[in-house]
Symmetry: C2
Subunit: 265 residues, 2 copies
């Protein structure tokens, strides 16, 4: 099972949109995919048509040791399952503050989960707090969605260092597998310049003894496409809502690239 944490502490860069639509695209390729919503704002949960109203059996109950992952997991569509978040997850950050091994509770739950999946994909909110640390400690791969704006590279270094720290202290198998450019405005020079800066940054890292010297920039870029912003309001993924849109094409290409290692031209 490939365990992927979708991480970026910068807000609004496409983490949730990527979790939901990449997950759906992999499911359409016949992979069994389990999504986990680790954001107290529960956007992946809402995106898939559930109501996080405080009544939902959720990841919160798993982190507090009250339920197993299997007990709160729900089928979404063929090959696609979701472990939802709910608003009480906001309290978890505080409630877990004093607990021993608070960053590895999710990892334990995943290890105890007997259900076979091909992919586990974890959506994190815009922070590097205990919920995000749980994702990092449970993952073998980190996928970083990144909006090609100025502050993107600034935040990236900090994020990579945090990943390295978790890898060293808590979970050695962890590695940054890749960065995916999201919200890509091909027409703007800004996007092209930031992507060029990003490629140069990754190139320099190749020759350094840093844990992300194998990180790749995915060839697939997710272009800005209003259909991707519309489908959450119908509780759907892009593949049900607008299967012929550029958004659907881009996430299908990303899934192929992640699944096989390359994209058909």
């Amino acid at each position: 099972m490939r365990r992927i944490a979708i991480i970026n502490q910068k807000g609004g860069v496409g983490k949730t949109t990527t979790t939901v639509n990449l997950g759906a695209a992999l499911a359409r390729r016949g992979r069994r995919v389990c999504l986990i919503d680790l954001d107290p704002q529960a956007h992946a949960t809402t995106h898939l048509g559930l109501e996080p109203d405080g009544q939902l059996p959720s990841l919160y109950h798993v982190l507090l040791g009250q339920k197993s992952l299997a007990a709160v997991r729900r089928p979404v569509s063929d090959n696609l399952w979701l472990v939802p978040a709910d608003i009480d997850l906001a309290a978890a950050e505080v409630e877990l503050a004093g607990v021993v091994g608070r960053e590895v509770i999710l990892r334990e739950a995943v290890q105890q989960d007997a259900t076979p999946f091909d992919y586990l994909i974890m959506d994190c909110g815009p922070s590097l707090g205990v919920l995000t640390l749980n994702a990092l400690a449970s993952a073998d791969e980190v996928l970083i969605p990144l909006q090609p704006h100025f502050l993107a590279l600034h935040g990236l270094s900090k994020l990579l260092e945090t990943t390295a720290l978790v890898a060293r202290r808590i979970h050695p198998p962890l590695r940054v597998s890749g960065i995916v450019v999201c919200l890509y405005d091909a027409t703007t020079r800004l996007a092209q310049e930031v992507v060029a800066d990003l490629q140069a940054f990754l190139e320099r890292s190749r020759h350094q003894a840093v844990p992300w010297n194998q990180a790749r920039l995915f060839a697939t870029r997710i272009r800005r496409n209003v259909k991707l912003a519309e489908c959450p309001s119908f509780g759907q993924t892009i593949f049900s809502y607008a299967p012929r849109s550029p958004g659907a094409a881009d996430y299908a290409a990303l899934a192929e690239e992640i699944d096989t290692g390359s994209v058909s031209p």
Copy 2:
């Protein structure tokens, strides 16, 4: 002095862009403006050309009682000052966890600050943690930047409830003054539908005994304009970088609307 907290727990909706450019626009109108960066990611600080490298005298030192606001405040341009954030602010959330009155430390510092300003504008990160609570407890007005996407309204209710709670328990003068639509894509039906939903929501609230029944939707909408995304990379506000751009026109109009209560046509 008008004390405005720029708040939205949703990531990437234009909080920092609004803090910096609204602040600059008010300064250009001759108002004395002090910006405070309350986000450990320090984007407002970086936007204005400073380097949050752990060496900056910053808001962190104020929250820990080591320095006054005046001691860390820096002039940015005419009429515009900044109290910067720095990376060590991330530790504040944890370090303040046990401290009595941890949500009102900034308010005390503001009250002890003898320097006369017309506006205090506080930029918050995408969370409702102790740093954001400090902003709410120090503010008399809350300004909510909002991207007209589906999840905007979802998050708004939660945000308004939090504001009401702070007002009731910690800081009674607090009120939501307004919501400003940011990243507005006038060409998309999605943006128009969400704005219509927002207007309906605010209209319904008028007749309820809720603390936000006076909240207004600003007439000024900040349109999506790549110039606004480019200027941080030069450490500039939109008014130095691209003074004739739609981004500059929109923030100048917002400043007029906030300063005078209405916009000249």
